[in-house]
Subunit: 448 residues, 2 copies
């Protein structure tokens, strides 16, 4: 396969994204060939059914129902995996890597579950696994983090990486609507799945932010170590109060390099980086660029120690945006074959031996807390006393007007405090007789 | 130099940016080495004077006053050029390329003036010229356009690529201040040069947008073909009226693929792309992400036919942001040496034989026009008649309140029209006896 001027692609998966890749490569193949000096062609596509519905046509002559025909065809130099899931997709990817064939995948769930095993297989067979499309669709964040910012330590990464959640939160704010109603409409319009848990509970964002955190910090971040909160609990009241306070609520994937605790408990990284890796709804100040990322758009804010603050914005999903990312990998894979530089930029370099994910209890944040309290004197004193004992300072306390009845909202904005203290205080506050519903807590990010 | 695990860098220029690169590489060299599998070291730096002021120290042991010692040293594998200017810098870059040494430059003026000659020299000597730092500082836009979006046709590029202009426009809007006052303060604070013309007249932005346009469209865009307007003529009145209309004024570098004119006049690209390449102040709708890019920050909005809308944001200048971009090129150059893949991604691929820059007269835009008119009946009729004869439709016409006296402002928002028609109409309007100052015209962009 050395110095091939013509590189053949085999694709597994010919549905929505697969047909998008086929279409884009067909449309721009001459352009890509002139830019790369290498011609790339999709010669074989394994599909579920010849006549499955697809937005762009794929000629029946290149289709097969047998994925092994794609992987094993000696004329196929590069394999694209677009079937999704973590079982059969893993078998397919490993089969191709074992033949020394570079693999391109858009499968974030697969990487999140089996990344190290797949990267090891690629390395062992002197080939590469490319995954630009697995995080944030058309935004070229993998290549940016891996190559463009290679001279940086990654101090902070904040990502709006789930389009469904961002769409729902955008509409909740715009329309003053409640989560359940917007979700129902989003499902009707095709912006959310019938079973929405993967998106709205934050798991999809956790897959992506885990991949980014691993790449940025050089040690593999396991999904089980990522603290994940979704957006189901956000109410229109929270969005309304956040707006009044000058904030927009976004679901953020967060990767923060933190100082290793000096002899503190659970110090897992005595000589290396400790990194907070989390997904949770966050109050973002309205002046910050992330606050204006709306609808299904994604954006990733990256702070490097050399480059400072940067942001990358675009469509995080969809057949065309994903196809653009796949074509970027196709180009790299084809060039690496052409120049025999298969390991020029490995999939993943585990360069941080002592890296560890910070336990969420140790993470420090500012907090927005909404309480439903009995409208009687003394409640604020009780709440303040609990927070005082927990050494948590109140930055501001608001009793919003226009709420009448026995039970009224009370909003507290807290200065920075460890989550261990905050969660204990919230439990105690929730047990006060005057507090009539579980406290609602959302973290506040000032990007300092 | 094949398979070198240790790559030595020689740097020409040890002032602000040079010391930034030295510092960043020193700080993160172990990290880069573990990520790349190659160790990079700066072994020699040519400086103007050993004791010139620099924000970070460079050890005297690596300094020389003779740039040829850097280029000709057999131990130097890669040369970084950071001296600026277009004369001696050209000699230096060519000297290194002729020795087959890859060159990294941050010099946009040099590329704008002599790009094709330098790229040809790199190609002829089987090496490469890297220039990530030449456009938009720390934003990795060169690599994004060249590699990450390689599968796209570039339909639109809009760049805020001059930090000085963006800083001035941001302060003018925030403070309701006039250009001259903010410029003076910006000069005092070091955000603008004593001789500000390169920035405020749009030439620096033209250098950068010319490089981006060339890379995106595959034919070399000469500076003389770029229509350039700066920001000197923008008044606080214009910013105030734009704000009232829901717009923010930004200096944009614009690259638009346009339909080749069907037998039209000046059709220079019968079979190829015609591209508008311009720099001018633009009314950007406040809801658009570019409107919220403030202060010295840069951002580039790229619309690809596959990926859709994307945006890249960060610091466009400064020793540290620029150093990050230089280190990205250092990594690519070192990897290319290590893997003997010197031409893997050439500096510039001239793939569009029929490309041409659209004459500005043929460009179509919407327009904001501010007139200073005598406050008497009949003026609007005269202005409307001229526009009607030029076949330019008025979208809205506003006589702002609160302006008293003999001469008052009149604001017109125009539907899309060719600039040839608009400029003729503006000349005719300017000659009306009731119009007391040259008409102020700013283009309006709706990003459709």
């Amino acid at each position: 396969m050395k110095k091939a001027n013509r590189v053949n692609i085999g694709m597994i998966g010919g549905g929505t994204v697969g047909s998008g890749v086929f279409h884009a490569l067909q449309k721009n193949s001459a352009l890509m060939a002139s830019r790369l000096g290498v011609t790339v062609n999709i010669v074989k596509v394994a599909v579920k059914a010849f006549d499955e519905p697809r937005p762009y046509p794929i000629p029946p002559s290149v289709m097969t129902l047998n994925w092994q025909e794609v992987v094993n065809d000696p004329a196929v130099h590069i394999v694209i995996e677009l079937v999704g899931g973590t079982t059969i997709a893993k078998t397919m990817v490993l089969a191709a890597l074992k033949l020394g064939k570079p693999v391109i995948t858009a499968n974030k769930a697969l990487l999140a579950a089996h990344g190290p095993e797949l990267f090891a297989a690629a390395s062992q067979h002197n080939t590469n696994l490319y995954y630009e499309a697995s995080v944030a669709g058309g935004i070229p964040i993998i290549k940016v983090v891996r190559e463009s910012l290679v001279g940086n330590q990654f101090e902070r990464i904040y990502g709006i990486v789930n389009g469904t959640c961002n769409y729902i939160l955008t509409r909740m704010k715009r329309e003053g609507a409640d989560f359940a109603d917007v979700l129902k409409d989003a499902q009707r319009l095709g912006y959310a799945e019938a079973e929405p848990s993967l998106d709205v509970d934050g798991h999809d964002a956790a897959h992506k932010i885990g991949i980014l955190a691993s790449l940025a910090h050089g040690f593999w971040v396991n999904q089980k170590d990522i603290h994940v909160e979704g957006i189901r609990a956000i109410t229109k009241l929270d969005i309304q109060f956040a707006t009044q306070l000058g904030y927009t609520i976004k679901l953020l994937g967060i990767v923060k390099k933190v100082a290793a605790p000096a002899g503190g408990r659970k110090a897992q990284a005595p000589n290396g980086a400790q990194v907070q890796v989390s997904v949770y709804p966050t109050l973002v100040p309205d002046g910050h660029v992330l606050a204006s990322v709306n609808d299904v758009f994604n954006a990733i804010f990256v702070r490097g120690d050399v480059v400072g603050d940067t942001l990358y914005y675009g469509r995080g999903a969809g057949k065309d945006a994903t196809a653009s990312a796949v074509l970027s990998d196709v180009a790299d894979a084809a060039l690496d074959l052409h120049h025999s530089s298969e390991n020029r930029v490995p999939s993943f370099v585990p360069h941080e031996r002592h890296g560890a994910v910070q336990p969420i209890e140790d993470s420090v944040a500012k907090y927005y807390v909404r309480l439903s309290v009995v409208d009687k004197p003394g409640v604020i004193a009780q709440v303040s006393a609990i927070l005082g004992r927990a050494k948590i300072s109140i930055a501001s306390l608001i009793q919003p007007e226009g709420h009448e009845g026995d039970v009224v909202p009370l909003i507290l904005m807290m200065h920075a405090a460890p989550y261990s203290a905050m969660s204990r205080a919230l439990r105690a506050i929730g047990q006060l007789p005057a507090v009539k519903a579980p406290p609602m807590m959302i973290r506040v990010e000032d990007f300092a």
